[in-house]
Symmetry: C2
Subunit: 380 residues, 2 copies
DNA sequence: AGCATTACGCTACCTAGTAGCGTTTTTGAT
DNA sequence: ATCAAAAACGCTACTAGGTAGCGTAATGCT
């Protein structure tokens, strides 16, 4: 049962809306423009801005005459992006990477390093925390500015950030990522699957900014699907949503009598494809092209399943295939159309391998400002 | 970009919250109880109730001494459920059915009839409108009380209620169901796939009331999946979400090299299963049990695909299988567990064949009170 | 310098919450 | 019958947060 609201909810909400508008605009904004954009009176915006300046979230710039126009120059306000810093960290089987950004999501510092022992969650999380500290130094920031962080990890991660399944290892099962990281670096932490965060990133500032139901498909060396429904990550029961590819490899062998979209080991596919792609590019050689076609079929079978279950309006292909997009995408599109699948848009990632890290930043950012400014209103 | 809110939004929202609380409770409510439940002050509730009584949505009952307690007897308020009526209509290939309900969803009147010619959308929609009028008469209501309606139809229906795909016929493609019905009966109409509405019904007042990510699977004579994500219907691109079963039969033949979860014609399966079930029930005969197992495998293959793509927390099985649930469900559960799928809850429908109609009522109800009282706030 | 233009700073006012006081209506004990 | 306790009512006073719009300030143009 939803609860009623008092007026302070309105102010929190309107503050949040104003702040988001400021965050989106690269240029400083005037009160009048901001008021127009968020649909509130100038007076209200004036008061909200005063509070935000007071709190340090926004700074007022010196006035500058409007070029070409008459009239009193407006006051100009700009988000103080560095008022708060966000951390994102990602761990793979082999290495970890961290970034620190301002609240706009501008990446200010980075760190990257091979992990000591992935199968030991504790040492890996220690490494992750070190990476965050390193990235923070690289960003020239201090620990007290860090406001929130998120970790992108493989495997099925539930709504609370607990790892429920992870292929190739069982040591991570049950690890509470936010709690573990929170013990090492004392800020609120959030966790999600790297593919989900890849999708979120693409929606925030990538190829999917104009779609709300998105699947982000990483079909390279690490396979995984990320799902966005109505603009929010869909994790599914115990984080299993979109784990179809990993499920297939996990179940391989016992699976012959249960074909799931005809999947085979992604690692194997990847190797084969890498070779085939190079060959084809080099010589337009028929055998190599056949291998590309085989890989295309593999992709198409997954996308077909997606088309008739989740039916996103956009599928973003990722996973080190970006450079081969010109070869792959048209073929995949042709095959999808030939199979009479819904005419779902297909694009290559525009963020590359940074996707999950950027998504983690957005994830932390969303949670942070919901905490600070209250929930968002959706029209049903 | 979300817009800011003024105070009147709060009142609309709080009114809606109060009204929903009244709708949920079967008993009349007192101001104090209502205030407690929605988290607003008694005074605010008092004012909201006054407005609702004024508008006819709520009636005040005579006071009755509280049994067993001291103190002044409270004022008692009850939703005037019949202040507005809702219509729901459903069309199959062969017949149509309509119900008229009050805003609580109590069904007050019904009508049901064979359709003249399903392949002609216009005559079918005429029939649908007639059914609604008939059900209205049966309910003892008048046309001016009807406030909104919804239609449940097969096929892929997009967010605007336009039919995008329908197996076995092309005449329905592009038909704008809300517009067509609105021309015949002048209230706001909404449309959705019958399986989606089945899922919604189950969530509202059926087997899925305690889950928010639900798949409703009708695997009987008409096949179809309905999907609820975060409690709302997920339609997908051009309504294709969950059409995997129909897709398979549509593509059958050209599909051999693109196995989608090993599907075969649902009608065929259904016939086979009906026979098998009866045999098995009659004689525990081995051949019949083998056929049941075959059907179980068919279901399991679909559910497996669902488990790793959408990964709902609950799957509701429907489609005339209710009476066989005791035979089927344990077997399906065993096979799902054996295949190491996520341990997703499986239940039989509790609404039977009325599901889609009841879901259509809920759908109309939700749209109607969003229109009247504004959007709902979600915590992110 | 004077005027048009644009934005500012502010007062007055409205809506919709909350707090809580004094009153009313009841039950149960004396 | 009377009175205290209990429970809810009806209301006034107050606060928060919004809008309207007036008089003022700062600028460019002629």
């Amino acid at each position: 049962m939803t609860a009623g609201l008092d007026q302070s909810a309105i102010r929190r909400l309107n503050t949040s809306v104003a702040l988001r508008a400021l965050a989106v605009s690269a240029e400083p904004m005037t009160m009048t423009v901001l008021a127009d954009q968020v649909g509130l009176s100038r007076r209200t915006i004036e008061l909200i801005l005063a509070a935000l300046v007071e709190a340090g979230w926004v700074e007022e710039l010196e006035r500058v005459p409007v070029t070409g126009g008459a009239g009193r120059p407006p006051r100009r306000f700009r988000l103080r992006a560095k008022h708060a810093l966000l951390a994102a960290v990602r761990v793979n089987t082999l290495e970890g990477a961290a970034v620190v950004s301002d609240v706009r999501g501008n990446i200010l510092g980075r760190a990257r390093r091979a992990l000591r022992e992935y199968h030991d969650p504790q040492s890996t999380l220690d490494d992750a925390a070190d990476l965050v500290r390193e990235a923070l130094v690289d960003a020239g920031g201090t620990a007290d500015r860090l406001r929130a962080g998120a970790i992108a990890s493989g495997g099925a991660i539930d709504d609370d950030g607990v790892v429920r399944r992870l292929v190739f290892t069982e040591h991570w099962e049950g690890v509470d990522l936010p709690a573990e990281l929170g013990r090492r670096i004392r800020i609120p932490w959030f966790a999600d699957n790297d593919a989900n965060l890849g999708a979120l990133a693409e929606h925030w500032r990538g190829a999917a900014s104009d779609h709300d139901d998105v699947v982000w498909a990483q079909l390279g060396s690490r396979a995984g699907l990320g799902i966005l429904i109505r603009g929010s990550v869909h994790r599914g029961f115990e984080g299993a949503a979109g784990e179809i590819v990993e499920a297939a490899s996990m179940l391989a062998g016992s699976l012959d009598d249960h074909p799931i979209a005809g999947l085979t080991s992604p690692v194997h596919e990847q190797r084969r494809f890498a070779r085939a792609r190079m060959d084809a590019a080099r010589a337009e050689d028929l055998a190599a092209l056949a291998e590309v076609d085989e890989f295309v079929e593999h992709i198409v079978s997954i996308l077909t399943t997606l088309s008739w279950t989740i039916a996103p309006s956009l599928i973003v292909l990722s996973g080190g295939l970006e450079d081969a997009a010109d070869v792959l995408l048209p073929r995949v599109r042709d095959r999808m159309r030939a199979a009479r699948n819904p005419d779902i848009e297909l694009r290559a990632t525009s963020l590359g391998s940074d996707g999950p890290l950027i998504g983690a930043l957005k994830f932390a950012l969303d949670r942070m400002d919901t905490q600070l400014f209250g929930p968002v209103v959706h029209d049903a």
